[in-house]
Symmetry: C2
């Protein structure tokens, strides 16, 4: 999270306000400037060069929007970040606490402070098309207008702004991807033909990485690289820093020098030229040509496409295809999870030994987890910042240990670790909650409710075509019955050596727009319970959607269920086993049997005896 002392922003704001009046950037001065989080690809995690909102206000949480007017500067963020934002921003800034009744929306606030007929500027590359539409409409209804400022005004005042990363690209062979990029292009084009679409504009970095079977390291935790792609029925345009394409292995992978077929020839262009190339494509569109673009793509690229020919879609065909893992990807994900389980078994065995010495902290435990993971074959890096939290810190859902919050692991408090890694064959994300001494009755009770919820989802059988949000309440029923709950969703899609959070599926009460679950999709199952000021509990497995074979098959729809890919023991000491039904006990025993069998064999192979002993001890059947 970086520093907790406020950033001094007086001079920066003066310069930004100067730029807002500077006609070098636009024909007339603007009265307000919006600085959203995010990059031109609407990435969840962003590169340092794109941390513009952090640069201008000091707040570096993952979600927040800054707005600067001639007189005011305000920053909107949600409840996870109220404390952090108030510590990181100086008093030039007003913290706008989203979710509180008295907090105005950005639109309402702008309307209340702006002089009549104001112009509000925003970088059209950073704002998504759907957000632009809403903001623009609200401002127009009050006589103002939203204007696209092509040069980013933060960049104009950010003298030491880091360069856009351009890391080496890694090619992935068929043994990992299961499908060549050529075959992926062919199946994309088949979908375009089916829907009478002439062009598809890909802007999401994970979709482009998946399409070309390439990985980068431009953004921490996410093995992606900055690029755009435009696919037509006969052409493929690839926009990327051209310096990256000199590697002969890469050139060969992409068949840049000798394409197998003309329609699979990739034309390469500089990253920045996507706008002008898309303009050129649009200028040549026939009246019946339609262009697919995600409705969350940047306003800038979206608006290049004439409205009559633009077909915005909530999820692109690449997003949908990427979500359904093929046999090679599933195999890779399974391997990655076995290696990840080896590292975690070692971690927990080590913690058991070390904690009594009083020398292990949240940070050192997280470091140890990373060290152990890095010993596994094909380790690339972490898949997100490790949440390593003791006692009350565990109740902070998005906690990340900092020197000033760092607590020591003891025999007296619950320890929650939510962590994962990128391996060349797959991505992991696992949460375990462990007590190294004697848990309290209330901690065990809550843990047992969370476990019941976890099992209810993991063991659920449901018809083909069911959307994940319909399973969310299964994870909560046991907590609800006792008057408890958790205020986050139950699961998210997980990429295969890609982003640890991906669409279009998930398990959450919050959305209705998720796509139905399908065999081959991979999601997390992670209910929790958080007792503020005391402890946090979360149990997370990554699970694979697989066909189920129940007794009947109503209307031949077929049924689905989940297979856990994560194979790390769930601490029996934290369970009130008498609170479990026989079915739940059977589930726990079968899960632990599989952990012991599969991960035990790998621990044996790697000669990790202490971890193996720990595993065997922790996977004894319960009765």
């Amino acid at each position: 999270m970086g520093s907790m002392s406020p950033k001094i922003t007086g001079e920066l704001l003066r310069q930004l306000r100067q730029a807002m009046k500077n006609c070098k950037y636009f024909s007339e001065p603007i009265q307000a400037y919006i600085v959203p989080s995010g990059d031109a690809h609407q990435s969840e995690y962003i590169a340092p060069c794109d941390c513009r909102r952090e640069f201008i206000c000091g707040f570096n949480g993952s979600a927040g929007t800054a707005i600067v007017t001639e007189q005011y500067a305000a920053m909107w963020t949600d409840g996870r970040y109220f404390l952090q934002a108030s510590q990181q921003m100086d008093n030039n800034w007003t913290l706008m606490k989203m979710g509180l009744k008295e907090t105005p929306s950005q639109e309402d606030w702008l309307i209340s402070v702006l002089p009549e007929n104001s112009k509000v500027g925003v970088d059209p590359w950073i704002i998504a098309a759907d957000q632009w539409k809403n903001m623009s409409k609200a401002l127009a209804s009050a006589g103002h207008s939203l204007v696209a400022v092509q040069d980013n005004l933060i960049d104009a005042v950010w003298t030491d702004r880091p360069k856009r990363p351009s890391t080496q690209l890694r090619t992935l062979g068929l043994e990992y991807t299961g499908l060549s990029w050529q075959d992926k292009i062919t199946s994309l084009r088949a979908k375009m033909t089916e829907r009478k679409i002439s062009w598809f504009v890909a802007t999401a970095l994970d979709e482009i990485a998946w399409l070309f079977n390439l990985r980068g390291a431009d953004i921490e935790y996410n093995p992606v690289f900055f690029a755009y792609t435009i696919v037509g029925m006969n052409t493929i345009r690839f926009f990327v820093d051209l310096k990256r394409l000199s590697d002969p292995i890469l050139r060969d992978h992409l068949q840049l020098d000798s394409p197998s077929k003309p329609e699979l020839s990739i034309q390469t262009f500089p990253y920045e030229s996507v706008y002008t190339e898309l303009q050129a494509i649009c200028a040549a569109l026939g009246p019946k040509d339609k262009v697919w673009i995600c409705d969350k793509a940047s306003c800038s690229l979206t608006q290049v496409i004439p409205k009559a020919q633009r077909t915005p879609i909530p999820y692109t065909p690449l997003c949908l295809a990427k979500a359904v893992k093929n046999a090679s990807e599933i195999q890779g994900m399974k391997m990655a999870h076995i290696k990840d389980a080896v590292a975690l078994c070692e971690l927990f065995a080590w913690l058991e030994k070390e904690i009594p010495k009083g020398t292990v902290t949240e940070i050192s435990a997280a470091d140890k987890a990373e060290e152990l993971r890095s010993q596994q074959k094909g380790f690339v890096g972490l898949s997100f910042p490790t949440i390593s939290s003791v006692g009350p810190n565990g109740a902070i859902i998005h906690y990340r240990p900092l020197p000033e919050t760092n607590r020591t692991l003891t025999m007296n408090e619950v320890y929650l670790i939510d962590s994962g890694a990128q391996y060349v064959d797959g991505t992991t994300d696992v949460t375990r909650t462990i007590h190294f001494g004697t848990p309290s009755a209330f901690e065990k009770e809550c843990f047992t409710y969370v476990l019941k919820g976890h099992i209810a989802v993991s063991a659920a059988v449901f018809p083909n075509g069911t959307k994940g949000h319909l399973l969310d309440s299964f994870a909560r029923a046991a907590l609800w019955e006792s008057g408890l709950d958790y205020l986050h969703g139950t699961g998210h899609g997980v990429g295969c050596f890609l982003n640890v959070h991906e669409g279009p599926c998930g398990i959450s009460y919050k959305t209705f727009a998720d796509e139905p679950l399908e065999a081959g999709m991979i999601v997390s199952d992670e209910p929790g319970y958080y007792e503020d000021g005391s402890f946090g509990i979360r149990l997370e497995n990554v699970v694979l959607v697989v066909p189920a074979k129940p007794k009947y098959n109503y209307r031949n729809r077929g049924s689905l269920t989940f297979e856990p890919l994560t194979l790390v023991p769930i601490q029996v000491k934290m369970m009130n086993t008498e609170q479990l039904t026989q079915k739940e006990r059977d589930w726990v025993n079968e899960y632990h049997r599989k952990c012991q069998e599969v991960v035990g064999a790998e621990l044996e192979r790697q000669g990790r005896k202490e971890a193996l002993e720990w595993l065997v001890r922790e996977t004894q059947p319960i009765i």
Copy 2:
């Protein structure tokens, strides 16, 4: 359902096409005319004078839209009605089977058959504002236009069209309503003030009936009457057939002759003058005045309000207030359900005796149910057409027995009866599935899954603020686990001596726009299972949302659960009690104990001995 022989429509279509070219009705001829189901209030059930779609094509199901062009006539309906529609329409008509892949949408079909620059007419009173918007947009994108035809063209050719009903209005006292109409107006105005709204236009018939504590009988099964209301901060305009207002009791109830306060004085206007009055109100609006209208109100009334001042809402404040029943309404609903249970106990005791004689049919059983209900105090009529179905007919979800489908009740087939009544103190809706001989193992198995689903919803504890759709999967989990399901929602809101189906709450996987459940809301809980060609099972109780008191109270949110209002035994013979958990068995026993106690006392009081014996026998505890 009426006749199953097709209506002869050649001459009618000739006349309608003549009217489509007749400039008496509009400046230019129209090339197509849309005839939706429904009336100017977007009612679910409609009066005979509004059955225009049935008149023009012969099909009289509850859902369907007819479109007539110069050359073609087509009618769209869903899977429930494919057979019926094909039997009721002659071959001037093409049946458009909605839900099948090959069936074009109305928009796509119109675009495919219309000459360029066509005008498509529709009665703007019958089409809802949101539907108009969608259709208009789709047609415009293909160069056509949707035009509002003020005079209904079906009425122009319907020479013997029935008159709009104008039944006697019934006033409801405080003992039933719990709240005077004056207090309802005051609380409506408080909500308007809170949201800075100057006017509210009420168009839904049940909302107007609820607001004024009046009931009518203009539409079968629904105790409503044709009216509009416009409420301002100081005025109340009531649009209704003025002949209805001569009754002195009614005049007194509405304080028409001596209003208690000027702002509670009701100005009465003819039903038809709502359009011109709303025009006059809108002409006098200040620039900051805002007008509330439901987004499902007619296009006609909606468009009178200038767009800048129109605030469309998915649910009106009356809809929301009406859904949360007060103590008097809850008391009334409880009384109505006890009386209803008396009638059903008598019915089932009678059926048990009569069925062996082989003389009871679906129709005669439904008639007997109505006869027994009509003996109860305060009976007004049925709340919907009784679904009385034997064996394979039970698998037809919206079945209604007709002479040509009428089956005899026997000891060999499952009997499903879904029925309800309007009493002056409340509305009922109950489904029981009964076998009078020996059910098959599969019938019992399915019944038990359905019962488990019913209990899972009824006994669920969930936090305040939970939307009903989050409970839907609870009703299906047991069925899903065996590969079974049912293709309808689990529950709907129920009015209090009002419509048996009402918003804004419900329990269904289909919608995300329902309002959160609140203590005092009343919904149905009705999972089912349908084995085509063989039998149907449904178990429906009306349940009241009540506060729950679980062990904990996370973030002081409070918890809710359901209390069954329906008190009719669930047939133990159909249950595999060993498939039930102890908790489920306890629920059944407690439910039956309450049936015996509460309904038993009333049967005793009414001296209905045979029914009482039946009740006692059917409510013995299970082990």
